[in-house]
């Protein structure tokens, strides 16, 4: 590893707990380790914290301005020449606006393009519905060849970004906004692509969560543990390819599955788990996430709670499944 360990530790110590910035910091290490890496920005230099990268690797940085469709097409073209582009962008714009470029130029052409998508979910709560990305996972999940990762904290975001060094194809990395994302797991635990991390054991009910909802799942598990209820918590950081074994084991060993995510209930992690279980092992489920509506304006944390994305909502979902236990 070329990046100085102490520099990383120093950055972690002083940096806010925001996955978008961990991505930018990881690009510094990627730039040093991979001479083919090139960073493409859609006027998002501070959003993803890439100014240190730009300073160190100016010849491998391309600003494309506020033009997401072009940024994706350019990244695809770069990839065809053997470079490894990392696109830095806003999640709502780089997915919905550039969907055709992502589908054709990146996924269909199967090019090695990593999309770092910040400000996902309702992390830009006060910005309003135009700036929320609550359908991005549904869009990206529907694309063949796409790998989708949703880091839950800074450490995972950093490691997941490094993991893209070994992914020879398109990647969508879903990152947060300007909101604290508390650490959820052992920072020394290795990131294993496509393998869920079990953060709490338990055989009564299982919560499969990603992103900001992992922390809420942990709090729910800890609350119910006081009542003697064992809630298994799986951090499903890789949405695609899905860790089928971990899900099927959880279905077999508990009374039901709760999924939890900051995304519409349609098409995200809950949908992915339900699609698998409906075919392989029909299982009682509850889904925690954004209902079928556009969110109102507000700070992210109370907004999440209003729409049922909270530790309390996870607890309620677990209780509902336990009440149905045969």
């Amino acid at each position: 590893m070329n990046a100085p360990e102490n520099a990383l530790a120093e950055w972690r110590a002083k940096s806010a707990n925001q996955t978008r910035l961990a991505f930018g910091q990881a690009l510094l290490e990627i730039g040093a380790r991979e001479p083919r890496a090139v960073v493409v920005s859609a006027d998002t230099q501070d959003l993803l914290g890439i100014r240190p990268y730009i300073e160190r690797f100016p010849e491998r940085f391309l600003e494309m301005g506020i033009a997401e469709q072009n940024a994706i097409g350019v990244a695809s073209g770069l990839a065809t020449t053997g470079l490894h582009p990392y696109v830095c962008a806003y999640a709502p714009f780089i997915t919905a606006r550039s969907m055709e470029q992502v589908r054709n130029d990146v996924a269909y052409a199967n090019q090695r393009v990593v999309i770092g998508a910040a400000a996902s979910g309702i992390s830009l709560g006060v910005a309003g519905g135009t700036h929320h990305a609550l359908e991005d996972l549904a869009l990206m999940r529907s694309l063949p060849n796409m790998t989708i990762i949703v880091p839950a904290d800074v450490n995972e975001a950093y490691q997941a970004t490094l993991a893209t060094l070994d992914i020879d194809g398109p990647v969508y990395l879903r990152l947060g906004g300007r909101v604290e994302e508390p650490p959820v797991g052992d920072p020394e635990a290795p990131f294993r692509l496509g393998k869920a991390a079990q953060l709490r054991p338990g055989n009564d009910v299982a919560v499969i969560a990603c992103g900001a909802l992992v922390d809420m799942a942990l709090r729910a598990s800890d609350l119910l543990k006081k009542e003697g209820i064992g809630v298994r918590v799986l951090n499903m950081h890789t949405i695609k390819p899905l860790d089928r074994d971990a899900i099927l084991a959880a279905a077999a060993e508990t009374c039901g599955i709760v999924t939890a995510e900051e995304h519409h209930l349609c098409g995200g992690l809950g949908g992915a788990v339900a699609e698998l279980l409906a075919v392989e092992r029909p299982t009682r489920m509850r889904m925690v996430g954004m209902p079928d509506t556009f969110a109102m304006v507000g700070p992210t944390v109370p907004l999440r709670a209003k729409y049922g994305m909270s530790a309390e909502a996870v607890v309620d979902a677990c209780r509902a499944l336990l009440a149905q236990r045969r």
Partner: protein, 276 residues
């Protein structure tokens, strides 16, 4: 340079005639297709593939090769024709247009030797070509990137995002050729949505512009040989062309943007195109 005797030009004209015959052959095999926009591009493609581009048909992934992106992917019959004539793909593939499991469908597939991007959804090629040209610059590679864009395709706004970026980065190693046949699917381009003044638009975006007769092979060759026209700017060649060029009943009508081709029509077309 062009030889005074015109040997090069007459060879390319001959090859372009063969491209047109192959366009009709493929489209007849498929039962129909984009005759109009494939035929208008035939001379440009012949000049690129049989003269201007540095390519190795037996080594299609040669890293130093010049790149060609067919942004107007619906002209894939023309691309298939030049790829077959150049030796990238087997000639027999031209008889498998649209066939089950064929590598040769209505739009280009990157998995086919010599095809640089899967295009056809319009407004994608210029961005991808800009990325290729930037990739060449970053890696200090000498290849040139060409992209062929339809005039109706310029309705897609993403083209202008890319035009802005390519000029910003002063990509002299990038050439966009506009196949200006003036007709799109519903009628005349400028009646659907006007793209005029076309040359002024590209100039205003920071491109070096040259307008040529896209069927005058001397004109085409001379312009391609002169690239880059400006060492600080990407080049836009506005090639004035005729939709369906080469077959009288298919020329200059939106009805032949895409149309069915049976054996009888095919025989008439070949008779007009003349011997290979």
């Amino acid at each position: 340079m062009i030889d005074k005797t015109g040997t090069l030009v007459s060879r390319l004209e001959q090859q372009a005639r063969q491209v047109r015959r192959n366009i009709w052959r493929a489209i007849r095999a498929g039962g129909g297709g984009h005759v109009g926009g494939s035929s208008s591009a035939a001379d440009i493609l012949a000049a690129l593939y049989f003269h201007r581009m540095r390519i190795r048909p037996t080594e299609p992934d040669w890293p130093e090769r010049d790149r060609f992106v067919l942004s107007k992917g619906h002209a894939n019959a023309a691309l298939g024709a030049v790829l077959a004539q150049a030796g990238f793909i087997d000639d027999a593939v031209l008889d498998q247009f649209y066939a089950f499991e064929s590598p040769f469908g209505m739009h280009p597939d990157i998995k086919v030797a010599g095809v640089e991007m899967c295009t056809g959804a319009l407004g994608h090629g210029l961005s991808v070509a800009t990325g290729m040209a930037l990739g060449a610059r970053i890696q200090k590679m000498a290849f040139h990137t060409f992209v062929l864009i339809g005039d109706g395709e310029l309705h897609e706004g993403s083209n202008w995002e890319a035009a802005m970026a390519a000029a910003h980065y002063k990509l002299a190693n990038l050439t966009a050729i506009i196949d200006h046949n003036k007709i799109c699917q519903s009628g005349r381009v400028n009646e659907v949505i006007s793209v005029d003044p076309l040359a002024d638009k590209w100039r205003a975006f920071g491109w070096e512009v040259r307008e040529i007769d896209g069927h005058n092979m001397s004109d085409v060759v001379e312009t391609l040989d002169a690239l880059p026209l400006n060492s600080e700017r990407p080049t836009a060649i506005i090639a004035h062309t005729v939709k369906g060029k080469g077959v009288s009943f298919a020329e200059n009508t939106y009805l032949w943007h895409s149309n069915s081709v049976n054996d009888e029509i095919y025989a008439k077309a070949l008779a007009e195109l003349g011997l290979p």
